[in-house]
Amino acid sequence: MNGAIVRLTLRQVRRSAIVVVVVTGGMTALVAGTYRSVVTGPPERAQLAAIAGNRAIRTLFGTPSGLGDPGGFTVWRTGTVLALILGGWGVLVMTRISRGEEQSGRWDLLLSGRTTVSGVLGRQVAVLLTVMAAVWVVVAAGLLTAGVRGAALHATGLALVGAAGVATAAGTAQLFASRAAATGVAAGLLGVGLLLRMVADGFAGLAWLRWLTPLGLVELSEPFGPGRWLPLLTLAVADATLIVLAGRAARGRDVRGARLGGPGRRRPSYALLGSPAAFALRRARLPIVAWSLGMGAFYLLIGLVAGSVTDLLRDNPRLAELAEQGGATGLGTPAGYAATLFVLLTMPAGGFVASRLAAFIGDEVAGRHALACAGPVPRWRWLGAEMLAAGTGALVLALVAAVALWAGGSRLGPAAALAGAANVLPVVALSLGAAVLAVGVAPRAVALLGAIPTIGGFLLVTLGEAVRMPGRLLTLSPYTHLAPVPARSPDLPAAAVMIAFAVLACTAGTVAYRRRDLGG
């Protein structure tokens, strides 16, 4: 029986677990292995140090430590991204296999055996922690030549951030009766963790905040600097405490019940129930508000520290020269810095549209479309409504990002900020196109395929820049074709091509969806 639950969990997570382990291990090994060909001499090293040490860049990537050697460079370059991927994966998978399965009613059957809620939860957490152990092995292996102690520290830090995602989600899955709420709150906590770390790195007086967040604790360990185990021990204790608390909360509660929010009667609200489009907006409004709050806080913070980039150039004329000739260091001007930051916007916005279409398929799998599609509303209108809601959400996120960056005092006019945010929307449209195509032809892979243009494309260029990948490979990523707006004028032909691809994918997906059988 116990082995059966472990095997079931493995089946449920193995595919994405393999992707996560390969991506973390692969990126770490590649960046570390090609350091010497990228940072060739003392001038490059000095330039890198000046950029990485700047307040605005520090806020984004964390305070660098040991940047002069391959290990420190890899930690600085990949650490934050990989930590977020691991933490995010931990949250999404944990709530999917626990609260998601429970909400669907499948746990009624599972728990009619001798197993308890906490019993299942414990085994699931154990399986996910084993995945984190695998992450530890591949990350440590990738950094081994850079130094054994540093490799061990960095691998431990990353695995512990992943475990923090798992532990937090295990807890929220006990608190909330719906998977969406459990996922949203856990992901929100992860986001708050990131913001705290950013504030700690951006404002000298608040450096102590690092002790309160997983990403900050990992940074404090400075794997290729002095190397400290105490922050990681703190994180390990916090993870363990959360897991124990989640287990406690799971014990003695009803199956399908939750610690917060009971059955509760309420008065009806008839707003946004009049059409498929209105209803799609009704279902998307809470996620849009939540994502907007996160985006707003992130870009406001970035805006607050952005001014230091200009100061950096004033204090360092040599760097300003380099920035101007190279173009590669577009981070050197407020406009270039803003352009780089708006590129980051594509990932939450792309993730948002993919998650909306994934929720659409979730409704179909749960059988809700059987009832909805019995009315005289053609199926393509339901899908169109969902695309509309997802697109509206992406626009709102872009608007919020632009306004927040401008309001933060980034020395950027509102028009420039809006142009920068609008410039990256074609990439988000590609994610929407991929997700809609998946709705038609591969409904089980909507989230994965929807994430490929934005998250996959971003990983490709990040890796490509770090290891000097051949140009042909890089053209596959939409980011290669994105002009740094507002620093330069937008690449309109490239944007038109991206939008054309997105429209084509949306059309093909809609046609395929109309023709295929409805699931559920």
Partner: protein, 248 residues
């Protein structure tokens, strides 16, 4: 709009090598309650999915009052549907769900809906995730009956209802028939079928075995000599006879 509620011609559905439905010819007329019987896996739900345009036929066609089943915008003007396993949006209350379904459906008779809510003793102020199977079914039944659509497609609609609600359900079906609506009722509850259906179709392994009135079926089987002498056969005995199992 023709006078035939449902017409299928050579309707066939394959899932890979599995033949879920094979060459089904059927006609359901307005003002009749049509029972659709068959063991699990016989192709009943597949037929309903094809009638609703939610699955595409491998061969053949189905029309709803003359409109192609795949032309949802037209065909669904004439019908309302209750699925076997009713799945509602967990965060919408019963009242909100009924409002949504009314807005997206072929129209609604608010007075009749209010009456049905009362008769089915529906608590509308709770979110759907707190509803039991029977309550979810009641929401879907009220939504469907309240449309007064000329065709009602009901897939095992009363399986989660208690005897009191089951009685209300039968009453609502009879009222619908008396108003001239056609009711397509897929069910395992043979006493229910016997009580409300005018004609029944019996399906086995994707093939139609028989379409007849309950009285005709009785007659057919008495002359075939399968029933005990001197007693009228129940539908259950007839049904089991079709599958080669002796009646209890």
């Amino acid at each position: 709009m023709t006078s035939t509620a449902i017409r299928t011609e050579h309707l066939t559905k394959h899932y890979g090598s599995l033949v879920a439905l094979d060459d089904l010819d059927l006609e359901v007329r307005p003002g009749e309650v049509f029972g659709f019987l068959g063991p699990n896996g016989a192709g009943k739900s597949t037929t309903i999915r094809l009638l609703l345009g939610q699955a595409r036929p491998t061969a053949g066609r189905a029309t709803i009052f003359g409109a192609e089943a795949s032309d949802v915008a037209r065909a669904h003007q004439f019908l309302a549907y209750v699925p076997a396993d009713v799945s509602l949006w967990p965060f919408l209350t019963g009242a909100e769900t009924l409002e949504l379904l009314a807005n997206l459906g072929p129209g609604v008779d608010p007075a009749y809906r209010a009456e049905l809510i009362d008769r089915f003793a529906l608590d509308l102020d709770r979110p759907a995730r707190t509803y039991s199977t029977g309550n979810r079914q009641k929401v879907a039944l009220v939504a469907a009956f309240a449309t007064r659509a000329p065709l009602l497609i009901l897939d095992e609609p009363a399986s989660g209802l208690d005897p009191l609600m089951e009685r209300e359900f039968r009453r609502a079906v009879t009222e619908a028939r008396d108003r001239g609506q056609a009711v397509f009722l897929s069910s395992h509850q043979l006493d229910e079928v016997e009580a409300v259906c005018d004609r029944v179709a019996i399906l086995r392994a994707g093939r139609l075995l028989e379409v007849a009135t309950v009285a005709e079926l009785r007659h057919l089987h008495r002359t075939a000599g399968t029933g005990p002498a001197g007693r009228e056969l129940s539908l259950e005995e007839i049904f089991l006879g079709y599958y080669g199992k002796p009646a209890r």
